[in-house]
Amino acid sequence: MKTTGTVFRYGDNVDTDVIIPARYLNTSDPAELAKHCMEDIDASFVGKVQKNDLIVAGANFGCGSSREHAPIAIRACGVSCVIAGSFARIFYRNAINIGLPIMESPEAAADIKPGDQVSVDFDTGLIVNETTGRSFQSAPFPEFVTNIIRAGGLLNSLKERGV
């Protein structure tokens, strides 16, 4: 699995409240949530983001509440991957469980600038900044995580495996 897209770049400690503000949690409809994704940190995000674009951020991405609405909103915007220096524990689990690819790479996170074209190979863990030509090796997903993401979430992947 591979993806290429344009980067939206954010800093450290992007919390679940700015990813999807609590005032919009009266719905769990992905399309509705997508309309307000990143609204409190970057009001222009929703208007600009295109299918397959990437979010790149610093340390502790997704800290705060355990709401699964946060990765759902990001995925519903068409974002193909989030690369961060590190992820908060429950966001990390929730993202993979709902089928949003995420990659940890402090080096890539430090190098990549807003608007860069970046490609990610989930099978090898190779992140390439096509704009600068620099590449970064992150840990590839083990097969079952790739399967979760390909299936569109943990529960779908279990179904596919015939559980």
């Binding site: 524990r89 429950i90 929730n94 997903f141 083990p142 079952f144 995580v145 979760i148 279990l158 495996r161």
Partner: protein, 419 residues
């Protein structure tokens, strides 16, 4: 490669000879747990995905403890949905009003967790069972749904901080003081994502109740789990409770730790955490005299028999101060019965306490002791976040059962030796 205790348990459940920190693995689960708040969400997802059966009806456990006996109609709906699911799937370990207890006190007591096992629960304090030398951690609703369906969960293998416990506890100091002291030292994210492994000669100075309290609050330092070695106290605890075979794991002597912190138990004084973070730890001697309106003795942190014994030893022959409500909540039916048999309940009632059937109740500001604006409680619970026990302008001071009982008598934050 050398592994920590947690890594060894995970390797075993993943069917791998070894694992290392940061590695993603899929592990077999020995138990999947949810409560009246989290189970209904997981049940919805389980059914939406089209699953029709749970992986093992003996290994999926639902405990109705948060808003029970049902406090309102919404809570009644959540319990009703959980009940229907448990019935449909014939869950062996479904605990309803009358035989339930607060989940993290109940599961070990019922022998549902044994050393070396791997447990997930859709509740953040699932880390409590580390006291038994098991790997247990809190997860989200999709994880619970998947665990119920397949009996597996994926994990990122954690690194660990090693806490080397030395010395002996002073009088009136227990597990709660130890963990509040530790969180005060390392902060609410001091162990983010990691295991907290407790070792050293001081471990044997801690009762099982002390250890449950300490492991329970590992999450309050951001940890994935907290874990204790399997010694004689653990073996004695599980002896009559667990009949299936289990395995004790030990950390390799040369396992790598991110950090090693020595905690001298003899230096720890009765400790409280002031609003609004568990890391705001202070010695009681420094904050004594703060006026309180309520004292809560209970919760998954401190509602066990040992906790009630300590509280009763202080309340015996004394009275709760005028103007203070003291609420005592045995964590399980068994704790309640034992406390009755030992005469503890009578002591509490005579002292002027309200004694309740097991429930989470006030710990999450649900019912049974919700605070109003401007009120302050001393509580043996585990979180003193803004609004946790009620109004956003109320305050919670986290404390041990000894300090909570002494404070109830004094009407102000107090330590037992001042009474």
């Amino acid at each position: 490669m050398a592994m920590t205790m947690t890594q060894k348990i995970l390797a075993k459940h993943a069917g791998l000879p070894e694992v290392k920190a940061g590695q993603l693995i899929e592990a077999k689960l020995d138990l999947v747990m949810g409560n009246d708040i989290t189970a209904p969400v997981a049940i919805k997802e389980f059914e939406k995905a089209g699953f029709t059966r749970v992986f093992d009806k003996d290994r999926v456990c639902i405990v109705l403890d948060h808003f029970t006996p049902n406090k309102d109609i919404k809570a009644a709906q959540q319990s009703s949905e959980s009940r229907a699911f448990a019935k449909k799937h014939g869950l062996t370990n479904f605990f309803d009003v009358g035989n339930m207890g607060i989940e993290h006190a109940l599961l070990p007591e019922k022998g549902l967790v044994a050393p070396g096992e791997t447990v997930i629960g859709a509740d953040s304090h699932t880390c409590t069972y580390g006291a038994l030398g098991a790997f247990s951690t809190g997860v989200g609703s999709t994880d619970m749904a998947a665990g119920m369906a397949a009996g597996v969960a994926w994990f990122k293998v954690p690194s660990a901080i090693r806490f080397n416990l030395i010395g002996k506890l002073r009088p009136w100091v227990g597990g709660k003081d130890v963990i509040l002291h530790i969180i005060g030292r390392i902060g609410v994210d001091g162990a983010l994502y990691k295991s907290m492994e407790f070792t050293g000669p001081g471990v044997k100075e801690l009762t099982m109740d002390d250890r449950f309290t300490i492991a329970n609050m590992a999450i309050e330092a951001g940890a994935k789990n907290g874990i204790f070695p399997v010694d004689q106290a653990v073996r004695d605890y599980v002896k009559d409770r667990v009949t299936r075979p289990w395995e004790a794991f030990e950390a390799d002597p040369d396992a790598e730790y991110d950090e090693e912190i020595t905690i001298d138990l003899s230096e720890i004084e009765p400790t409280v955490s002031l609003p609004h973070l568990p890391s705001n730890a202070q010695k009681v001697s420094q904050v004594r005299g703060l006026k309180i309106d309520q004292s809560v003795i209970g919760s998954c942190t401190n509602g066990r028999l040992g906790d009630l014994r300590i509280a009763a030893s202080i309340l015996k022959g004394r009275k709760v101060a005028p103007g203070v409500r003291c609420i005592v909540i045995p964590a399980t039916q068994q704790v309640y019965l034992d406390a009755l048999a030992e005469g503890l309940i009578e002591i509490f009632v005579k002292a002027g306490c309200a004694v309740s059937t097991p429930t989470c109740g006030p710990c999450i500001g649900g019912h049974m002791g919700v605070l109003y604006k401007g009120e302050r409680a001393v509580a043996t619970t585990n979180r003193n976040f803004v609004g946790r026990m009620g109004h956003t302008e109320s305050e919670i001071i986290l404390a041990s059962p000894a300090v909570a009982a002494a404070s109830a008598v004094a009407g102000v934050v107090a330590s037992p030796d001042e009474l």
